[in-house]
Symmetry: C2
Subunit: 382 residues, 2 copies
């Protein structure tokens, strides 16, 4: 087990009927004016918007709304919101939504204190040292952004979907009310769960050794998410499974799964980010396509671990069968498993690889160069 | 899954050679003078004392030493240290030791800001609202106190071994260097592991339902601790297993296992605290005796869960066999499993039950009264 630092100061308030507590959490810190950020308006249909507004008013917290954050959130929207935050001189950001909204909030929170182009935080030119405090009401379990310091944003001009991480980006408090997710479209539940599973796999397959308790815990999270998705497809309002999916997705990327690792492999995520930057497909859908292809390409780097995965998760006897079973499961729950499934043609491989290769070599288990990325993308047509 | 709040702000610095970072952690907060608390002096033999002193000096942190904290730490020692802390006007407490030292540190930290008798925090007369900041170098994995807000202290006058919990008691930073534990006597490794297992069981068997991912994670922690103890008995310097035991013991009581529960049953702990308050036996030894007896007494309150335990942990088919297997395992690793093993006679049952019954009814799975405690203690002679 490698040395590690675990430090996660986010307060999670979890359960039925907790959305209305958001105002109290903000008031506990004494903030009186927030930027209220959300997406396409689904929160106005499912009652979350009203609960939040009511909670803010009850606690005498003034708010400025910025809506219209899209899936695969873009830099231009973030910049628009930074201007609003500065002009209105807000004291905190309230993100009500999923990973897109939360990641945008983290970027706005950092941009508030930075005079340059906040894209510098993504390229590494600027190391984020200060952020506005962030509060969250989560509406879809997937990215784990509600309990970590990471953010992923797409720069539309350069078609780069990149990330930054800062200790100042951890939300102060995140409300996770699983009942809010009862009304999610089936594919969003599936893609969210797939994203969370792949977060665990990034740490599971990064080549680190001797993480006995963590291997078991990671397998526990993966198995629970799979079971939850299978049940929620037919019973989207099953509270126990919504709750277990939600908490599992949070644990998948809150620092726990990283313990004792090399920090995760992240190849599947980086390659997928090029897919969704170029074609605007759902992140979880892209991961369902890329991850099994990546697994096949790298499995001989750590056959023992891939065999463990096969056995523990699917009761299979070898690495190949384990990966096939994973792919079969993804197909079963309705995720695309081939680039063909999302209308990408073989001729596009070069363009996608080009986009991802800007950051090569990447990957802990096997450092990937452009030719590796091309090979993986080719496997992703099967 | 019940609603819950998860909030744990302790920074854990974990791994080989991390003890020397303690001064840096304290300096990060700007503190310049600390009370340096430790126990019987084993840290002077294994090099931890020298590393800590060196790190403090390197960071120009002044320190006042108070040593001699005993296992089953007592109130009189805490009060002595509170006087020193006040007189010397320290800015923080540095606990170098196991649960006894850390729990004493938490009580001193709270007592620093309280004019009355700090025992009031244990009886509930005083709700702790403010504590000196606490820093930890852990030397034995057992209580989980390095990453939570709880403390257990024995009042020698009243023979009460009671606890308090406060959000202000979470250590700011805890150093966990598993190599420090290479030199622990065999029985301390075993008792520490047993304590951690029983922490998980308190949450596992509190009657709460629908905690799918948590059941799996709790089983992961229990299985890993068992495996670690079995190996460390013969190979005390096996780093991977020391590390896995250490991190598992921290996870056992850092809020994670509590997620979605009723807050834990705690009957085994409360009854054991009467044992160790009256007879000064090791806490882990007492738990090895009391817990299987408690399990037998309450198993019909949640047979389904006891059957799951039997199957998942021991591959057994029913609740009774699971409990017997657990008792057999405790015996195998050298823990006492009967009150006879620690020289307590049948005539003492009344006195022990009397001591525990002050706090009755307690227990979430089955609320226990004096007659229940007597029945459990009688089972603990088998």
């Amino acid at each position: 087990m490698n040395n590690f630092v675990f430090h996660n100061s986010t307060k999670v308030v979890f359960g039925k009927g907790t959305v209305g507590a958001i105002g109290d959490e903000i008031k506990n810190y004494g903030y009186k004016k927030v930027l209220f950020l959300y997406g396409g308006g689904s929160i106005k249909k499912n009652g979350v918007y009203d609960s939040v507004v009511d909670s803010l008013r009850r606690n005498s917290i003034e708010f400025v709304e910025v809506s219209g954050v899209k899936p695969n959130p873009v830099l231009s929207k973030v910049k628009e919101a930074i201007d609003v935050a500065k002009r209105e001189n807000v004291e905190a950001i309230l993100a009500v939504g999923g990973g897109s909204v939360i990641d945008s909030a983290k970027t706005i929170a950092a941009g508030f204190y930075y005079d340059g182009d906040i894209w510098d935080a993504f390229t590494g030119k600027y190391k984020v040292k200060k952020s506005l405090p962030i509060f969250v009401v989560l509406t879809i379990s997937a990215t784990g952004s509600e309990m970590n310091g990471g953010a992923v944003i797409t720069n539309e001009d350069t078609k780069e979907k990149w990330s930054f991480w800062a200790s100042t980006s951890f939300p102060k408090a995140s409300i996770i009310d699983p009942t809010v997710q009862f009304s999610l479209p089936r594919e969003q539940t599936v893609y969210g769960g797939v994203d969370a599973i792949v977060h665990v796999l990034e740490y599971y397959f990064d080549g680190s050794k001797g993480r006995k308790v963590m291997d078991r815990i990671m397998e526990s999270i993966i198995k629970t998410i799979m079971e939850a998705i299978e049940i929620l497809i037919d019973n989207p309002t099953n509270y126990e499974w919504r709750a277990n999916l939600a908490w599992s997705a949070t644990l998948a990327l809150n620092g726990l799964t990283s313990v004792g690792s090399y920090g995760g492999d992240w190849s599947s995520h980086i390659i997928e980010h090029s897919l969704s930057a170029l074609y605007d497909i759902a992140h979880g859908a892209g991961l369902a396509i890329v991850t099994p292809a990546w697994m096949r390409y790298v499995m001989n780097e750590d056959r023992e671990k891939f065999e463990r995965f096969a056995k523990e998760i699917f009761g299979k006897n070898n690495a190949e069968e384990g990966i096939e079973a994973f792919k079969g499961w993804l197909k079963k729950v309705g995720a695309p498993v081939s680039l063909k499934d999302v209308g990408i043609s073989f001729e596009d491989v070069g363009k996608i690889a080009e986009n991802a290769a800007i950051r090569s070599p990447f990957g802990k288990l096997k450092p990937l160069y452009k030719e590796d990325i091309i090979a993986i993308l080719k496997l992703a047509f099967e």
